[in-house]
Symmetry: C2
Subunit: 409 residues, 2 copies
């Protein structure tokens, strides 16, 4: 379906110098790339973004992780530790609108590319840093990966079964969740700059960004006066019932359906009684009010379980959902990748890459005038070195050749 | 600390007509409000956004949930079912740059405010819709809340303990995670519009947006050929060891520390041996390579647990983290709200609200030129009706009075 996606030009002409690696930084610049910015990764010759490889010394041995966070970008290799390489990157920064980095604390400054250095050569640049912990935090010099952000940002503490140990939410919110908040702020700064011409310094810490996704929990805590406890199969602050994961046939690891009735919409409950053929429950005094249903939720859960267990999760979702009650089957990653409407709708697309088999992956999820942005190949290491040096800096073929010969690029 | 935050003007002059409710929509328009847009909530007289109340018929009985998703916004009340009310909202839409809605499928169109209606009166508007399921999905008419998006978008399937039932990630990613992708796209469209003057239609589905946060899992699945299984206390695709949650003294519900050694940085492992006073392990053949450590991770986990159990999570994080190994204590919501540096750094701020006690809440996590945006009060229902009708539409005092008298606003 060739027209399920479209090339998006929202950020056409915007130049991003991208020093990011792994995921928290690349997910941010990836959002800019989906929207049409020219995102140029600056990578070390021969090695590149460590996200390119799973094992030391084996570049590009995992074609899946790197591709998803670097689609639609360009790559140039520059030896940042050589004076000529550093000068070259400074020349690129002079021509850039945005630069983004998420190196370990202190690294970019040691390279001579800290905020003051870059601002001095390009006062209009939007200079962006993603770190594990914020400046002024007791941990500001510490390293972080996704799970460290999720531990220290609270998301792990609220995830897991009631009365059992915590678990990590199985997605990389510490990385991509942080990247999204930075992308939003960059775009705000770019919009402002169309009026003022002024640059800005933007900084986000992964721990801090987690709080943004924890706001509902802070509301729950404010009401109760207690730290939020885990109740992963019910959740919602315990204020809606019935609401939770119910087991379905044939009893596999992900054969569950989430059924939710909202206290704000009491008709959810009466509809559910009708779907289950239990109309008499609507007027049962044990379940008459939302508060009654919360109080007697264990009885309710047992009745609903008896009903869901005789159906597959697909049947349960279809019957409950089409009756106007929020319901969702638990889909695993294989079911999702094989769900045909994601591909029909451009929500999943194949990346056509010169080095790898076509790979189906999630695209940017927002439709723009009906279609999500088109997935283009992630770059081979250094693929765009010559192109960018020529287009951005106007270097001659001979100059580019000399940079290669001297191992600067 | 009054100067830990600053008023941000990035979107100064941008007018947003905000029909959103609960969280998926409001989290999107909240991001715009943090950056200085004039976000005007359109609410039903007497009732308002259902996010204002936890219990039917009790408006504003929860001052915490609504406040966090509606800080820095304005509120006007309009009866959309009256012809004069509808005409008034159309007049506002003529003056708006952006409108956003996340009503149940079909509702906004039934109100006469569908895309074609609004485009006809303002071709330059950026018209945005957030739904549970995408147009073209088998579930496109279904209702959704956060947990339904997380069930059908895969995040629940990968969250939980190994071999046990799935659990919901305890944060509202289905809502706020979706809102972030829409906010990014709106800002891209606004930027483009400075050059073209053209409006756009933007649509996102909560299920689809979850895939964006699941990309690392899709990489893991592509490598293994199998649906990703839960392993919530280790995670990371099982390719790093040691990495996981380790129990600490005194054994409370959240007395755990996540310690992570990355295969891409073998010095994490040797540093950890040194921190634990187990230098002999560095050269132990059982743990010599990253692959050896993955293979023998149970032995490793037992040794690390013996060490962490004799320390608090704070001590363990301090010792391991300061030695250059990624480490994070599991902080609960109460520990986070009471952590003083969040307030010192403007990452948490107090909302000063005319009706409620000051409430400490997470602010926008990104620092702009050193400071996060300032938290201002969420609006009282209808607080800005007269102001907006006067400023946007130029209505006279008498005209506004007549609209009140006739229950239009």
């Amino acid at each position: 379906m060739p027209d399920a996606s479209a090339e998006v030009q929202f950020l056409s002409g915007i130049r991003v110098v991208d020093f990011t690696q792994f995921e928290a930084g690349p997910s941010c610049t990836e959002a800019l790339a989906w929207l049409g910015a020219e995102v140029v990764k600056i990578e070390n010759p021969g090695v590149g973004d460590p996200g390119r490889r799973l094992r030391k010394g084996k570049p590009d041995d995992d074609p899946y992780y790197f591709q998803q966070f670097n689609a639609n970008k360009k790559s140039i290799t520059v030896n940042l530790k050589s004076p000529r390489g550093l000068a070259l990157v400074k020349d690129l920064l002079r021509k850039a609108d945005v630069c983004v980095e998420n190196m370990a604390p202190g690294t970019i400054e040691r390279l001579g590319l800290g905020y003051d250095d870059v601002k001095a050569i390009n006062p209009g640049i939007i200079y962006c840093q993603v770190k594990g912990f914020g400046t002024g935090s007791p941990y500001e010099k510490n390293l972080a990966f996704d799970m460290i952000a999720q531990a220290t940002g609270g998301t792990i503490s609220v995830t897991g079964e009631k009365g059992r140990m915590p678990v990590k939410p199985g997605l990389s919110l510490g990385d991509t969740g942080t990247g999204m908040t930075m992308a939003i702020t960059i775009l705000g700064a770019l919009f402002r700059r169309t009026q003022t011409g002024e640059g800005h310094r933007l900084q986000v810490a992964m721990q801090d960004a987690m709080l943004h996704y924890m706001r509902t929990n802070f509301a729950t805590q404010a009401r109760s006066g207690r730290a939020v406890e885990r109740d992963g199969a019910h959740s919602g602050g315990g204020s809606n019932a019935p609401s939770g994961l119910y087991p379905c046939a044939p009893g596999g690891a992900n054969d569950y359906v989430w059924i939710m009735t909202s206290r704000a919409n009491p008709e959810h409950w009466s509809r559910l009684c009708n779907v289950m053929g239990r109309e008499e429950l609507v007027n049962d005094p044990r379940f008459a009010t939302p508060a009654d249903r919360v109080k007697n939720h264990e009885e309710l859960d047992a009745m609903i379980t008896a009903w869901t267990k005789t159906r597959t999760k697909h049947e349960a979702m279809d019957q409950v959902g089409s009756a106007g009650i929020p319901a969702g089957a638990v889909f695993d990653t294989m079911e999702l990748i094989n769900e045909p409407t994601f591909e029909q709708r451009g929500i999943m697309q194949y990346m056509q890459h010169p080095s790898y088999q076509p790979f189906k992956m999630p695209a940017w999820p927002v439709r723009i005038d009906g279609r999500p942005p088109q997935v283009k190949a992630s770059p081979i290491l250094g693929q765009h070195t010559d192109e960018v040096l020529t287009n951005w800096l106007g270097l001659s073929k001979a100059e580019v050749k000399s940079l290669h010969a001297d191992d600067v690029v």
